[in-house]
């Protein structure tokens, strides 16, 4: 499977997992990615696919009428953070969940 195909598959998996599984979705999809890959680059793949999926879901919010940038600023006001910080956390958190789980599981699977 090419790298592009792997990335696309992982992104699709993440989209489904984050949409259906909420906060747990990214981690579960990361585990699946790690088991499936069992190779170097699992962390990067999990991280990247989760961040990309989160970005796509944010884009979908915008398509449905959400003013993402304005709302990021409002949310930031509640946490004393800039809007960009909120956006960064939004993308980073599922990325770390998925990347960490994928990388860890892949290495353990490889060990066996």
């Amino acid at each position: 499977m090419s790298k592009t195909s792997m990335l696309l598959s992982a992104v699709v998996l993440q989209l489904a997992a984050q949409a259906l599984g909420g906060v747990w979705g990214a981690a579960i999809a990361g585990i699946i990615t790690g088991i499936a890959l069992r190779d170097r680059g699992a962390f990067r793949l999990g991280f990247g696919s989760a961040a990309l999926a989160a970005a796509l879901l944010l884009g979908w919010v915008a398509v449905r009428g959400g003013n993402v940038l304005h709302f990021a600023g409002m949310l930031g006001g509640n946490f004393k953070l800039p809007g960009a910080g909120i956006l960064a956390i939004t993308l980073l958190l599922p990325a770390l969940q998925a990347g960490g789980m994928a990388g860890g599981v892949a290495r353990l699977a490889r060990q066996r």
């Binding site: 984050q18 944010l58 959400g66 509640n78 958190l93 969940q97």
Partner: protein
């Protein structure tokens, strides 16, 4: 090789283990933080998930077309949202309209519904956590949830009232049941709570909460504390007498206000009986049980009481004084400015039965202020004294079971109040006792019971529902009077036949022997109980007044020279806006809706017109006597140049306001108890008018400056200098950086949970204390015009209105703040009044909603 020598695990295969553990730790850690949060950090993963977190709430929350089901609906309901996001409900029965009302209110305000009802129920801790425990305790100690529960238990389930409450609950619950967790309002996600089921009793809790907001201003302790400091005569001249200026709601037969600016009695020796009573109550500088804002310091309590100011206005003009020859009506209830607004705009049509629009309070199934095809109405708060206290004699000072009444021991009812946190765990409990009068609690060494009309209310909704079928102003007011108990309101109404009318409607207690409600009564005798309530004919009121206009602005409802039966004291009322609106209405006999719109934000102020010259004259006098203070000269010049209008770019109002605050701080030193630094009570600002004409009154003397005896000019000058110097420090040199009013006193509606990010930006406005738009934004509170409406009662009434905020309670919605700019500018929007769905032009329809069984 080198690395392997020192760390055998760095063998390529073995190295997988620690890296795997590290990687998993990152993944699990991020998941843990995301799902559970850490310390002060909330569960960010759940909140920021683009699919189910807060982001999900930012998508368009009013789709072009939608449908839903409400169990129990008898027929389909067609709802059209106009371009202002106002739902027009077209139903075939009134109960279906109410079900739909519950649904559309919940659709935009689900969290607000729950928060407000819990505030009246005393269960906020279960929603927001331990931080709300003091508020919940206050609510329960007032007996509010018990009263609501008893009212519901006493309501027959087949009665019209119960069926209305149940229909409304059905609509709310149908909407709630239709939501996935991703669709829950943001506040639930932030609080990690689920929306609860709405019960009919929750509307009763909210009604009680409105009573708390509007009819909870006991002054007994103020009078007692004042007596203990300046003696009985002086204290009663402030806290047990009428306003020195009378511009009553029921017009007096004269063309100007009546002023009675008699000299105030000089401060005297402490009243020993009051000193002993205070000692027994243990409240030398504290708050009386059930006193509003009891947890605040006396200074803050006084400040917030002034800021709250109950500053609603309403007025009506008869056809003979309007350009169109039609009756005109305007109203702007002032309440705390929140996001979402306390109001939700709605219109309901049931052909042949009901056609009513206006604003509803989420949680109350009806239109509170609004219009029908025949008439329009608005309210201001009456502010009358409807809460009294009795000193009870109990059989056991620690755990009483009975109290003495007419020589007999009467059993006490007790109710254990249990407070729970968000997880349902018990965090506190206490016992509230009840006599036949109401709740009883221990204060110091005394047991005090309380009676409050708000605890005896509950049928108000029926007054509204029957009133909506009226076709004349008088019939509408009569319907309300038949059912409406509390919180008492000055109800103004105008109809298409040209009638204007006003009535201070609500239960006004009559005390034994025509006593006033200013002292704590002896509870041992029933003879000291309330003897009944004023009859409707005794309510302050006016129909078709000869003067051709009516106005209320929380002033004393009736001149005591005309009716001396006690309603309240000067401390319960405010005079400045009443003087201002009557001044405007008297001066113009060619009124138009546009002029009335402009009155809402009129920057003129009788208060400033009466008090500013006193400061200028005092400063001039001091300067003439040789005072060379540069601050005094600069302040005098600034105040003299000020046109006394609170437009947003004026630069004199800030100095005037600060000078008034300083002057009253210096003036009321007599109310500072020994060992304290601030007054425990402050007389009403209207008393300044009495003092200004008595330049050597001993009240002007600041007793803290023992070497000097200040007179009026000395004290006002000192206050002016202090105010000027303070503002220089706070806002800089006024020459270089003018103290622009809009910059230093903006309005700022705040989110219900006080979340800064979801609050409105600071909005400069025209208006200030004493004007008809006395919006005040401070660290303590934020009050202002919560709804503005102007109606021309033509054959088809023309209505315009606005409130700060927007129809949606969702901070991520474009409809959350879309009305704020219009409100800030003092403009109004045209209210649509379609009689059928077809009357609303397609271009004016924002969305549709169809409700079926």
């Amino acid at each position: 090789m080198v690395r392997s020598t020192f760390f055998p695990l760095l063998d390529p295969m073995a190295r997988n283990i620690p890296v795997a553990v590290l990687s998993l730790a990152v993944g699990l850690g991020a998941t843990w933080i995301g799902a559970r949060g850490v310390g002060e950090v909330p569960p960010l993963g759940a909140l920021l998930s683009p699919a189910v977190g807060l982001w999900a709430n930012t998508a368009n929350d009013l789709p072009d077309a939608a449908s839903a089901r409400i169990p129990g609906l008898t027929d389909a309901v067609d709802i059209r949202y106009d371009s202002r996001s106002v739902p027009h409900i077209f139903a075939k029965t009134e109960l279906d309209a109410v079900r739909a009302l519950g649904f559309v209110v919940a659709r935009d305000r689900l969290f607000q519904l729950e928060l407000q009802s819990r505030a009246g129920e005393g269960t906020l801790t279960e929603l927001v956590g331990d931080v709300a425990l003091p508020a919940d305790k206050e609510t329960r100690h007032l007996g509010m949830p018990r009263a609501a529960e008893q009212r519901m238990q006493a309501t027959d389930t087949s009665s019209a009232l119960y069926r209305i409450l149940q229909a409304y609950a059905d609509g709310i619950n149908a909407y709630r049941a239709s939501l996935s967790t991703a669709q829950w309002p943001m506040e639930y996600k932030l609080l990690q709570k689920a929306p609860r089921e709405w019960l009919p009793v929750h509307s009763m809790h909210l009604l009680g909460r409105m009573g708390y907001t509007l009819a909870h201003a006991p002054t007994e302790l103020d009078l007692l504390q004042a007596r203990a400091l300046v003696g009985d005569s002086a204290a009663r001249s402030f806290w047990d007498s009428s306003s020195p200026v009378q511009e009553p709601i029921q017009p007096a037969p004269r063309s100007a206000p009546r002023e009675a600016l008699a000299a105030l009695p000089a401060p005297g020796a402490p009243d020993t009986a009051a000193v002993q009573a205070l000692a027994a109550l243990g409240t030398n500088a504290g708050a009386l049980l059930w006193q509003r804002d009891a947890e605040l310091s006396p200074d803050d309590r006084s400040a917030i009481q002034q800021e709250r100011a109950f500053a609603s206005n309403n007025w009506a003009v008869a056809p003979q004084r309007s350009v169109s020859g039609k009756a005109l009506l305007a109203g702007d209830p002032h309440l705390e400015l929140t996001l979402p607004s306390i109001w939700f705009e709605v219109h309901m049509v049931v052909p042949g039965r009901m056609d009513v629009g206006g604003v509803t309070i989420p949680g109350l199934p009806g239109v509170t202020i609004g219009y029908t095809p025949a008439f329009a109405w608005s309210f201001t708060n009456t502010g009358a004294d409807v809460m009294d206290f009795w000193r009870e004699t109990v059989n056991d000072a620690a755990r009483p079971t009975a109290y003495e009444l007419d020589g007999q021991q009467q059993p006490l009812e007790s109710r254990v109040e249990v407070y729970r946190n968000k997880q349902g765990q018990v965090i506190a409990s206490d016992t509230v006792y009840y006599t036949h009068r109401g709740p009883m609690r221990k204060q110091g060494r005394e047991w005090l019971s309380m009676r409050w009309t708000v605890l005896e209310a509950g049928t108000e909704l029926m007054g509204f529902y029957n009133g909506l079928h009226a076709t004349t102003a008088g019939a509408f007011l009569d319907s309300l009077a038949a059912y409406y108990m509390a919180p008492a309101q000055n109800m103004i109404v105008a109809d298409t036949a040209g009638t204007i009318a006003i009535r201070s409607t609500g239960k006004h207690p009559i005390r034994a022997n025509r006593a006033r409600g200013t002292d704590i009564f002896d509870g041992r005798s029933r003879a000291n109980d309330w003897q009944g309530f004023r009859k409707v004919a005794q309510y302050p009121q006016s129909f078709k007044p000869a003067q051709g206009f009516l106005a209320s602005a929380n002033q004393e409802p009736i001149d005591p020279q005309l009716d001396s039966l006690y309603l309240g004291t000067d401390a319960h009322y405010e005079i400045w806006r009443a003087l201002q609106i009557n001044r405007l209405l008297r001066a113009d006999s060619a009124m138009t809706p546009e002029k009335m719109r402009a009155f809402h934000t009129d920057p003129g102020s009788v208060r400033a017109d009466r008090l500013t010259p006193a400061f200028v004259a005092a400063a001039k006098a001091r300067i003439a006597q040789g005072d060379t203070s540069k601050s005094l000269a600069a302040a005098e010049a600034m105040l003299r140049a000020w046109d006394r209008r609170y437009v947003r770019d004026n630069t004199g109002a800030r100095l005037f306001e600060t000078a008034i605050a300083r002057a009253t701080s210096l003036l009321w030193d007599e109310f500072i108890p020994p060992g304290k630094s601030a007054p425990v009570v402050r007389p009403s600002e209207s008393r300044l008018l009495q003092l200004l004409v008595d330049s050597t009154s001993s009240w002007w003397d600041d007793r803290r400056t023992t070497a000097v005896r200040e007179d009026r000019d000395a004290l006002l000058s000192r206050a002016l200098v202090a105010a000027f110097d303070t503002l220089v420090v706070e806002f800089g040199d006024p020459v270089k950086s003018p103290w622009t009013w809009g910059r230093v006193a903006p309005a700022k509606p705040r989110h219900l949970l006080r979340l800064d990010g979801f609050s409105a930006p600071e909005t400069p406005i025209d208006g200030g204390r004493g004007t008809l738009n006395p919006s005040v934004g401070s660290r303590l509170a934020n009050f202002g015009a919560s709804w503005r409406m102007v109606v021309e009662l033509d054959r088809v009434p023309r209505i315009r209105g606005v409130y700060p905020g927007g129809q949606s309670g969702n901070p991520g919605s474009p409809r959350y703040l879309d009305r704020l700019a219009m409100w800030g500018n003092g403009t109004l929007d045209s209210v649509r009044t379609p009689r059928t769905p077809a009357d609303l032009a397609a271009s004016d329809i924002r969305a549709t909603l169809t409700l079926t069984r």
